[in-house]
């Protein structure tokens, strides 16, 4: 829509970027140092934490049989399907709640009630209803992601600056135009916040769901490794979950930058 002119960086910006890289490096090195320390075989904690070298070996072994990719693939698939369905339902639900009072008044008590219940508490119900297959996990993720997204997006829809709606009215906009051209764009930052929260709670819930029983998936892999006391595999699984989470976060950030470049941001 808009061509942002690329300008050369000012010396201060160059310096800031350089410092960011330096601090990130320090951050990673410190984390590795902590890891090396706690996994030192002489320490008690060495029994819990496998050292980096062993974790890497475990990863290489699993990668050779490509079993690791099966686990990652299974988990990511569940998260994406569960989250995707939740997103598709949460967005219109939030707008309906913001726009139609009767709908809001009927649905809001349900949401208030359900949001206090950890999604994992539904697992027995879901297993009886949908078996132990893929759909059970997807349903649990759906519940978790849907709730956080509706709450966050609805918060945005009802907080659209009333002056903007007034301005649109006096510029001849009808209800339809106000909805499409004002309410929706004004809510996009909140939709993105919702997506971010929804993705992270999907991942959290999924792993917990897999720990309670699955054929494959990162949670299942961790559970199984723990049974045989393979702490290197456990730690590898945990790290992979973190990396997957970071990747999701990165994707959301890219979407955010593309969709809300117009937003006023605080100068830090």
């Amino acid at each position: 829509m808009v061509s942002m002119r690329k300008r050369p960086l000012t010396p201060k910006e160059k310096h800031d970027r350089k410092m960011t890289i330096v601090y990130t490096a320090i951050s990673v090195i410190l984390a590795l140092a902590v890891w090396l320390t706690v996994s030192y075989p002489g320490f008690k904690s060495g029994r819990v934490f496998a050292p980096p070298q062993k974790v890497l070996t475990a990863f290489e072994e699993q990668a050779k049989t490509s079993l690791i990719w099966v686990h990652i693939g299974a988990s990511v698939y569940r998260v994406l399907v569960g989250f995707g369905l939740a997103f598709v339902v949460a967005v219109p639900t939030s707008f309906l709640m913001g726009w139609y009072k009767p709908f809001r008044e009927i649905v809001q008590p349900w949401l208030r009630f359900i949001r206090c219940i950890p999604p994992l508490a539904f697992i027995p119900l879901v297993i009886v209803g949908a078996g132990v297959g893929e759909s059970a996990k997807i349903i649990v993720i759906f519940i978790a992601a849907f709730l956080v997204m509706v709450i966050s997006i609805y918060g945005g829809v009802v907080n659209v600056d009333n002056t903007l709606i007034k301005a649109a009215r006096v510029l001849g906009a009808n209800d339809r135009t106000i909805f499409l051209k004002v309410i929706i764009p004004a809510s996009i930052p909140y939709i993105i916040i919702g997506a971010r929260l929804g993705l992270s709670s999907s991942l959290t819930t999924l792993i917990a769901a897999e720990l309670t029983g699955a054929q494959r998936g990162l949670g299942q892999m961790i559970q199984e490794a723990a049974n045989y006391f393979k702490m290197d595999v456990v730690l590898m699984g945990i790290i992979i979950i973190g990396v997957v989470g970071l990747l999701f976060e990165k994707i959301v950030s890219i979407a955010e930058r593309r969709l809300t470049a117009w937003q006023e941001t605080r100068e830090m």
Partner: protein
């Protein structure tokens, strides 16, 4: 020169506005009678909470009076109309649209052909001298520039009545002086009836042909002062004897109302 014709543009008769639903009913406007003439520039001053903005919202079609009658060009007000433009104090630009798209917003709602939309937008973006920022988002603009966009957006609809709700209230003194000069110039060039609300008595005297002084709540019209200073007016107009006398008279009345309200 603008503002000579004495045809009645807006006729406000016995307008009252009572806000119910709170703990007590609030009488915001209590019997307003006022006529605005074609192409006239009227400023309204009065203490906070005197109902100035309520009156503007009713004229804009964003609110409705409890009693009384208002006609614009002989017709009753029924909701907002592109013929009655509004400039808000908080600019109210759509932050996700560029300057150009903001100015085009209302034109598109009217379903004008694309070429006309673009040409009209260009004309008014040039009028407020923001052509270099046409493709920028509002976030990169200063407060004064944002308000110029809002003015261009209102003007682009070519309304015959322009309602301005303390448009320069949030700006620093220099920017405000600049925008006042620009607005005067535009008003002198393009004939429109302007209904301008302000806290700033000096601003009112500089811009208006008539200044309406409102009393403290419940809002009534206390006095209307004719400003006979000839147009074109500039910032130098402020230095004249005539200007200070009018300013001091009006200021004293407004201050008196402010004290009344505090009691």
């Amino acid at each position: 020169m603008a503002g000579n014709s004495r045809d009645v543009k807006v006729d406000i008769k016995g307008v009252r506005r009572i806000f119910t639903g709170g703990e007590i009913d609030v009488v915001a406007l209590n019997g307003i009678d006022l006529q605005l003439y074609d192409n006239e520039f009227v400023c309204v001053v009065g203490p906070s909470g005197c109902g100035k903005s309520t009156l503007l919202n009713i004229l804009a079609g964003l609110d409705k009076q409890t009693d009384g009658e208002i006609t614009v060009d002989g017709g009753r007000i029924d909701g907002p109309s592109p013929d009655r433009g509004v400039v808000f104090q908080q600019y109210a630009l759509f932050p996700w649209l560029t300057v150009r798209k903001n100015v085009e917003f209302g034109l598109r709602n009217q379903g004008l052909p694309e070429r006309q939309v673009r040409e009209t937008a260009d004309k008014y973006i040039n009028m407020v001298q923001l052509q270099d920022f046409a493709n920028s988002y509002p976030k990169v603009l200063s407060g004064g520039m944002k308000q110029r966009v809002a003015i261009a957006r209102a003007y682009a609809m070519n309304p015959s009545l322009l309602l301005l709700d303390e448009p320069f209230g949030a700006l620093d003194a220099q920017t405000r002086a600049q925008l006042q000069a620009d607005l005067l110039q535009t008003w002198e060039a393009e004939e429109k009836t302007c209904f301008f609300i302000t806290h700033d008595v000096e601003e009112a005297v500089l811009l208006a042909q008539r200044v309406v002084i409102m009393s403290a709540r419940p809002g009534r019209i206390k006095r209307i002062v004719d400003i006979d200073i000839p147009h074109p007016r500039t910032q130098e107009t402020r230095l004249s004897q005539e200007f200070s006398v009018l300013k001091n008279t009006i200021w004293a009345e407004v201050y008196h109302e402010y004290l009344t309200q505090r009691k």
